[in-house]
């Protein structure tokens, strides 16, 4: 009944830089790469014109890249990892992904702290890691804004920080940000539903959102609405916000089902609260619509594969980002670049794509589904 901000339940996906700027960053990165290739090509041409045929030199220049971090053992790196308390499926998966990836590398030692949702406590834990002089820090802050100062402190102490998902307030507080795309999640959910319903007249769509106090929820909703605008035949008729918990999912979904006796599609922001939402749907005995989930839990992926219920797809907010963060941290610690990019340095920010998992591609994604 009383709905209050509750950080315990905030699963987390506090958000990234506004998608616009992320997109800008991406284009500028591409254009920079083009420029680099261009320069390299011009250089090669000049060399060619100068009748020097030093092939190997040529190749190196065209490649224009630093050492790439690969699976081979290299310089030993100690990575400090600090995340929030894993009281939610998605956050649990974050911790597991990070630990599993660190174990994979002989040269990586992971110093993981007990997760905490208390800002002050997490600050203390990160300061301990700074004092221990870890080589690189990976931080998923309980609250990005509140932990900016400690991020700055680490950077000033010469420890590069990989900021995971919930972004710090200042770009000086991290060397590299990697995280999900909440706006894109809504966008892709909307597009998928739009494509499914595009030939249907007066189609009705319902949205079951996450915690409304979180910016990420509003971004997801904005993305969803923006995508639906491309389909004039579709109208979003109702939206209620749950709290990322099973209980609230059941309760709010039951109300939505009562409010809208008939609709065509439902987007649920979070697969964990989806357990409750699906229970409410079962209790109401409804099945006239298609349901799209969010985040990508194993349970939902299994259901998509079985294809025996209303749930037809889920939009990822991939917890594998924690594994990638460990990769980035290792590359930073070893002073190497990452494969697939021409730059000498790892990028300053990486926004992950929120793929739509459907029956067609579910097998590919099953191993990444979290429990």
């Amino acid at each position: 009944m009383t709905e209050m901000p509750d950080s315990r339940n905030a699963p987390s996906h506090d958000t990234a830089a506004p998608s616009g700027s992320a997109a800008d960053a991406r284009t500028s990165r591409t254009s920079r790469r083009r420029m680099l290739f261009g320069t390299a090509a011009a250089g090669a041409a000049l060399l060619g014109a100068g009748c020097t045929s030093n092939k190997s030199n040529d190749a190196a220049e065209a490649q224009g890249q630093a050492d790439i971090a690969d699976d081979k053992p290299g310089k030993k790196v100690t990575i400090g990892f600090a995340g929030p308390q894993a009281d939610h499926g998605w956050l649990n998966a974050i911790n597991e992904q990070a630990k599993a990836r660190a174990k994979k590398y002989e040269d990586v030692t992971l110093e993981a702290t007990e997760g905490s949702n208390d800002n002050a406590q997490q600050i203390g834990q990160i300061e301990t890691l700074i004092n221990k002089k870890v080589d690189v820090l990976v931080v998923l802050p309980s609250d990005g804004k509140a932990l900016t100062q400690v991020g700055l402190k680490a950077m000033r102490a010469g420890i590069p920080v990989v900021n995971l998902d919930r972004v710090f307030d200042s770009q000086q507080a991290y060397r590299c940000w990697i995280g999900g795309d909440n706006y894109g999640m809504g966008l892709n959910a909307g597009r998928y539903i739009g494509e499914q319903l595009k030939d249907k007249k007066n189609a009705k769509v319902v949205e079951l959102a996450g915690i409304d106090n979180l910016e990420l929820t509003r971004e997801r909703t904005k993305g969803f609405d923006d995508a639906l605008k491309n389909y004039p035949n579709i109208k979003k008729v109702a939206r209620q916000a749950a709290e990322f918990t099973v209980e609230s999912g059941q309760s709010k979904m039951a109300q939505l089902l009562r409010a809208e006796p008939k609709f065509d599609a439902l987007w649920n922001h979070d697969d964990d609260q989806g357990v409750g939402a699906e229970r409410a749907i079962e209790q109401a005995g409804r099945d006239e619509f298609l349901m799209v989930g969010g985040a990508g839990s194993r349970r939902v992926m299994d259901a998509i594969k079985r294809d025996d219920g209303v749930i037809k797809a889920t939009v990822l907010y991939p917890p594998t980002m924690a594994a990638s963060a460990i990769d980035l941290a290792r590359a930073l610690g070893q002073g190497k670049g990452i494969g697939g990019l021409s730059e000498f340095e790892i990028p300053a920010s990486l926004t992950l794509y929120s793929a739509v998992v459907t029956k067609e591609n579910v097998d590919e994604y099953l191993p990444t589904g979290f429990k």
Binding site: M1, T2, E3, M4, R8, Q85, T245, S251, A254, Q255
Partner: protein, 339 residues
């Protein structure tokens, strides 16, 4: 129920001079209608709003069923909390106990024992937590606020430890079946029947038994009650046991409702339950209150949630309205009291 030397089982122990006169205790049936007129008025107004704004969806049997079902879990918790508050205490740990009991009763190991095992487990966890609360408060040196606050923290922590932050999905069909329409008795969901039973039992115990009268007496004036021969400590212990038991029942109901156990269950139930009891006319300082009022309080809150959802209003407006209704309900009661 309780043997206390020299007093017969039905009659109140001789009221000490400082105690309120029985007429003000609000436990006799004929007064209930008058006492709760204002809250009934609010409920009628809400129904009217619903009937005007969404006539096709609101005034249906299905919607009534929904409102009652959504009230049932928090309603059972509120009955327990009402007893504790009338008895002069407070229980902040109810939400955490519900979470712990629901998680414990849905572990893979517990689920192997089927419906009976899960129910027993939930009830035992609830009673166990209530026992700890009760002993700390009645026989230990702790005030209710602190003891139950400590229980809130540790029960939530234990729930997190057991569940490892994961949602434990129930696979026992007999449990799941209780939450879907096949199991409804004449259209009434079993959860609503449980809620009704607990509410009626609570009403009877509070208004018609020595236990109920002692609860009111202890909450009204503990020292006077002690001098009058009431075993105050034991009464307090029993009240927290009762609250714990209600939490255990509610936890099992929540498992049936959501088909799962999660450590985030019962989030902020303590505040919801206290709010429902307060707008139902229960005195936060103890000594006065009714089960009818608390049940009406729960129904008012659930009806608001339902109305807002039917009209597609968002969380921000809902929260503001709930706050306003708490203030209004208390103001109305205060105003009536001074007249």
């Amino acid at each position: 129920m309780l043997s206390s030397p020299g007093s017969d089982a039905v009659k109140e122990p001789a009221p000490p001079p400082t105690q309120r006169s029985p007429a003000r205790r609000g436990i006799s049936a004929p007064r209930i209608g008058v006492r709760h007129l204002s809250l009934l008025g609010v409920l009628v107004a809400l129904v009217a709003v619903g009937a005007i704004t969404r006539p096709e969806q609101f005034l249906t049997g299905d919607n009534l069923q929904l409102i009652l079902t959504q009230s049932s879990v928090i309603g059972v918790v509120t009955v327990g909390v009402t007893f504790v508050i009338i008895g002069g205490g407070i229980d902040l740990s109810v939400g955490a106990i519900v979470a712990l009991a629901s998680v414990w009763a849905t572990t893979v190991a517990t689920q192997e024992y089927g419906l009976g095992g899960m129910l027993l487990c939930a009830l035992c966890v609830g009673l166990g937590c209530g026992l700890v609360n009760g002993v700390l408060i009645a026989y230990g040196p702790m005030v209710p606020f602190i003891a139950t606050l400590a229980m809130l923290a540790s029960a939530r922590g234990l729930a997190l430890l057991i569940s490892d932050g994961k949602t434990q999905v129930v696979t026992v069909d007999s449990v799941l079946g209780l939450g879907v329409s096949d199991s409804y008795v004449l259209g009434v969901p079993p959860l609503v029947l449980v809620f009704a039973t607990v509410a009626v039992l609570g009403w009877l115990v509070l208004g018609r038994t020595t236990f109920g009268r002692r609860t009111v007496a202890v909450g009204g004036n503990a020292e006077a009650s002690r001098l009058a021969g009431i075993a105050v400590r034991r009464q307090r212990l029993l009240l927290y046991l009762l609250s714990g038991l209600c939490c255990g029942i509610a936890a099992f109901m929540l498992i049936v409702l959501t088909g799962s156990g999660q450590n985030t269950n019962g989030n902020l139930y303590e505040l919801d339950a206290i709010a429902a009891a307060i707008i139902g006319g229960t005195l936060l300082s103890g000594g006065r209150g009714t089960i009818t009022g608390s049940v009406l309080g729960v129904l008012v809150f659930t009806t608001i949630t339902n109305l807002f959802a039917l009209n597609n209003l968002q969380s921000d407006v809902q929260q503001i309205a709930k706050g306003a209704i708490i203030v209004a309900a208390v103001l109305v009661q205060k105003g009536r009291k001074t007249q």
